[in-house]
C-alpha cells in the first residue's frame, strides 16, 4: 500500500488499472477526460496489458465494451454528462445482456444551458437502465469502489454492469492523499475474470443479444430485477471482505451521528463531507441532527434506510438533481421506501448545487433550520424546496 496524492479522475483510473481490464474504450469529455488519458498512458508505457480502443463517440465506447465483454474479457470505460446521455440506449443493452462492465462517471449537469460543472442529473437519468450505481464521497472511495464494483458485478448471482461516480471538479480535479493498494493485494481480492457466459467459448456456444418476443421478454426483465435484489446481499459480502483485507469500511448507506437525531439529512456524493462537518458543529451547539450518506443508489438500499431513520422525526433529503415536474430522484426513492411504515418521519426535499453551484456549510445550516421548523409545525408545507437560488430567469 502506498499513499499518493491523486485527483479523483486519477484515483478512478488507478483503481481501474489495478483491476486489469483487457479492453478499455473511451471518448474524452470534460471533466472525465483525465481518466482515459491516464489509462491510455498506462497501456502505452506497458504498465497495463490492455487494448485501448479510440472510438468516435461515447455510443461507440460503450458498444465496444459490450462487444469485448461478450467475448469474455473484463472491460472499462469512463464518461460524463452528455457522453453518458449519448450512451443511453446502449446502457440498456449492456445490462440486458448481463455484462458486468464497470464504468467511471464524472457527475456533470446536462445541457441546456451548456455547463460543465457538477450535479447528479446525468447518472440519475440512468437510474432505470439496469446498472448498479455507486457514488463516491472522496477520491479514496472512488478507487476502492471501482475495485469492489468489479467483484460485485462479476459475481454469478449478479452479472450486472456498474457505474462508479465522482463529482465534477469537487472530486475529479481535486488532489488529496489516497491509499493505493498494491497489485498483489488487489489480485488477491479480485481474481482474473472468468466469464459465466462468453460467445467465444467453443465448449459452450451461446447466442447473446437475440430477439426477445413477448413470450420471453418479461422473464428477462424479471431476472434483472431479481439480480438487483440479490446484489444487495453480494454488496454486503464484498464490502465486508474488502474491509477485512484493506481496513476501510463501506456500507450501502453510511449513517453519521444518527443516534438520537430528530433531524436526519440524506446526502449523496462529495457534499456528504461538508454535511458531516456541519453536523459535528450543530451537535456541539446541541442540535439533535445526523446524516445518512447513500453510497449505493442502485440497487436502492430501502431496508437499511428504513431502519436508519426509524427514530427520526424529520428526514431532509438533499438532492443534487431534479426530476423536473416532481422532486429530486433521491427524495422519491427515500419516500417510497417509507410509504408502508406505520410510523414514519416527515419528509422534505431540498434541491442544491445544480450545475456546479457550490454546496456550502451555510446551505446545510439553512436546510437544518428549515427541518427543525417543520418539526415544530408538525407538517411539511413545501415538500420540495430549492436552496440558494435567486428565482426564475426572465
Amino acid at each position: 500500500m502506498a499513499k499518493m496524492i491523486l485527483e479523483g479522475n486519477q484515483a478512478l483510473a488507478v483503481g481501474a488499472k489495478l483491476c486489469r481490464p483487457k479492453v478499455i474504450a473511451s471518448y474524452p469529455i470534460t471533466p472525465s477526460t483525465h481518466i482515459p488519458e491516464m489509462l491510455s498512458e498506462f497501456v502505452a508505457n506497458g504498465e497495463l496489458d490492455a487494448d485501448f480502443i479510440n472510438v468516435e463517440s461515447e455510443h461507440s465506447a460503450i458498444s465496444a465494451c459490450i462487444g469485448a465483454q461478450a467475448t469474455g474479457v473484463r472491460t472499462f470505460t469512463a464518461t460524463a454528462s452528455q457522453g453518458l446521455a449519448l450512451m443511453h440506449e446502449i446502457l440498456y443493452v449492456a445490462s440486458g445482456m448481463r455484462l458486468p462492465i464497470v464504468m467511471g462517471v464524472a457527475n456533470r449537469s446536462l445541457s441546456a444551458p451548456i455547463n460543465i460543472w457538477c450535479d447528479h442529473s446525468d447518472t440519475m437519468a440512468e437510474r432505470d437502465s439496469g446498472w448498479m450505481q455507486f457514488y463516491s464521497e472522496n477520491n479514496q472511495e472512488a478507487l476502492d469502489l471501482v475495485i469492489q464494483a468489479y467483484r460485485i458485478a462479476e459475481d454469478e448471482r449478479v452479472l450486472l454492469p456498474a457505474m462508479v461516480t465522482i463529482d465534477a471538479y469537487t472530486l475529479t480535479h481535486t488532489f488529496e492523499p489516497v491509499d493505493v493498494p498494491s497489485q498483489k493485494e488487489v489480485d488477491e481480492f479480485l481474481p482474473p475474470y472468468k466469464p459465466v457466459y462468453a460467445i467465444l467459448d467453443p465448449e459452450r456456444p451461446i447466442t447473446q443479444g437475440s430477439f426477445g418476443t413477448p413470450e420471453y421478454f418479461m422473464e428477462f426483465k424479471y431476472s434483472q430485477q431479481k439480480a438487483m435484489e440479490r446484489a444487495k446481499e453480494v454488496i454486503d459480502e464484498v464490502f465486508r471482505e474488502f474491509e477485512e483485507k484493506f481496513g476501510r469500511k463501506y456500507g450501502k448507506i453510511e449513517p453519521y451521528r444518527t443516534e438520537g437525531a430528530d433531524v436526519i439529512l440524506v446526502t449523496l456524493g462529495s457534499m456528504s463531507g461538508t454535511g458531516k462537518e456541519v453536523v459535528d458543529q450543530l451537535r456541539e451547539e446541541g442540535a439533535k441532527v445526523g446524516l445518512i450518506k447513500v453510497t449505493v443508489f442502485r440497487p436502492f438500499p430501502a431496508e437499511e434506510l428504513r431502519e436508519a431513520v426509524r427514530r427520526a422525526k424529520v428526514v431532509a433529503v438533499i438532492d443534487r438533481d431534479i426530476s423536473l415536474g416532481f422532486s429530486g430522484a433521491v427524495f422519491a426513492n427515500v419516500s417510497a421506501s417509507l410509504i408502508n411504515e406505520e410510523k414514519r418521519p416527515l419528509l422534505a426535499n431540498f434541491i442544491v448545487g445544480l450545475g456546479g453551484r457550490d454546496v456550502r456549510p451555510e446551505d446545510f445550516r439553512e436546510i437544518v433550520d428549515k427541518s427543525f421548523r417543520i418539526l415544530e409545525a408538525g407538517r411539511v408545507e413545501k415538500p420540495v424546496e430549492w436552496i440558494n437560488v435567486s428565482g426564475e430567469v426572465p
Binding site: I116, A168, L171, F175, G273, T274
Partner: protein, 186 residues
C-alpha cells in the same frame, strides 16, 4: 485548517503551484486538498487555485472563501481581480512584483513581495513574454509562512516537492525556489 488561494493567469502554473504546495505539506505529515477554481481555463485568463492543509483529515468540499494566505503570480491581476476577497485579517498576501510591500494596502493584512519574474528569467524558466514563476513564488511562500506562522511549509519540503513536480528543468526550478526564499521583502 489553513487555506491558501493562488491567483494567476492560465498557463502560468497556478494550479501546479497549488499541487506542489499540497504535496510539500503532505510530506510534513499534513492532510491536504488542492483544487483549481472550478472553471474552464484559457491561456492568459485569470485563474485561481486552492490548497487546504490540516492536522486532521479534510472532509469539506466547498470552495475557499476566507483564505489565510493569498499568492498573486501576476501583478497585472491586481487591477482585474479582487485578490484580497475574503482574506483573513491575521493572514498575509504574497505578490510577485518588483515593487516593495509599502506600495500595496490590504487593510491589516501583512503584504510580502518578491520579484519572482526576474528570478525565474535568471534561471531560464519561461520567456520574457511568458515567465514561469510558480516555483520561485513557492520559495517565497516558505519564507512568508515561516514569518507569519500560518500555513507553514518548510523550504526543504517545498524544494523536494518542486524537484518531483517540475515537468522539466528540475534543478533550475529548485534553484529559483531557493533564491526566492532569500529575496522576499516583508
Amino acid at each position: 485548517m489553513e487555506e491558501v488561494r493562488f491567483h494567476g493567469r492560465g498557463g502560468q502554473g497556478a494550479v501546479t503551484a497549488a499541487n506542489i504546495l499540497a504535496t510539500a505539506a503532505f510530506k510534513e505529515g499534513k492532510y491536504v486538498q488542492s483544487f483549481p477554481m472550478f472553471g474552464t481555463e484559457r491561456r492568459g485568463a485569470p485563474v485561481a487555485a486552492f490548497v487546504r492543509m490540516s492536522d486532521k483529515p479534510i472532509r469539506v468540499r466547498f470552495q475557499v472563501y476566507e483564505p489565510d494566505i493569498v499568492v498573486v503570480l501576476d501583478p497585472g491581476l491586481l487591477e482585474a481581480v479582487d485578490v484580497g476577497a475574503g482574506l483573513r485579517k491575521d493572514g498575509g498576501i504574497l505578490i510577485n512584483t518588483e515593487e516593495s510591500p509599502e506600495e500595496f494596502s490590504f487593510g491589516e493584512v501583512r503584504v510580502a513581495t518578491v520579484d519572482a519574474t526576474k528570478i525565474a528569467l535568471e534561471h531560464g524558466l519561461g520567456s520574457k513574454a511568458a515567465p514561469i514563476v510558480n516555483t520561485a513564488i513557492l520559495g517565497a511562500y516558505a519564507k512568508v509562512s515561516e514569518e507569519l506562522n500560518i500555513g507553514k511549509v518548510s523550504l526543504a519540503s517545498i524544494v523536494e516537492a518542486v524537484r518531483e513536480g517540475a515537468p522539466a528543468k528540475k534543478e533550475e526550478n529548485v534553484a529559483a525556489t531557493k533564491e526566492a526564499y532569500g529575496r522576499v521583502v516583508l
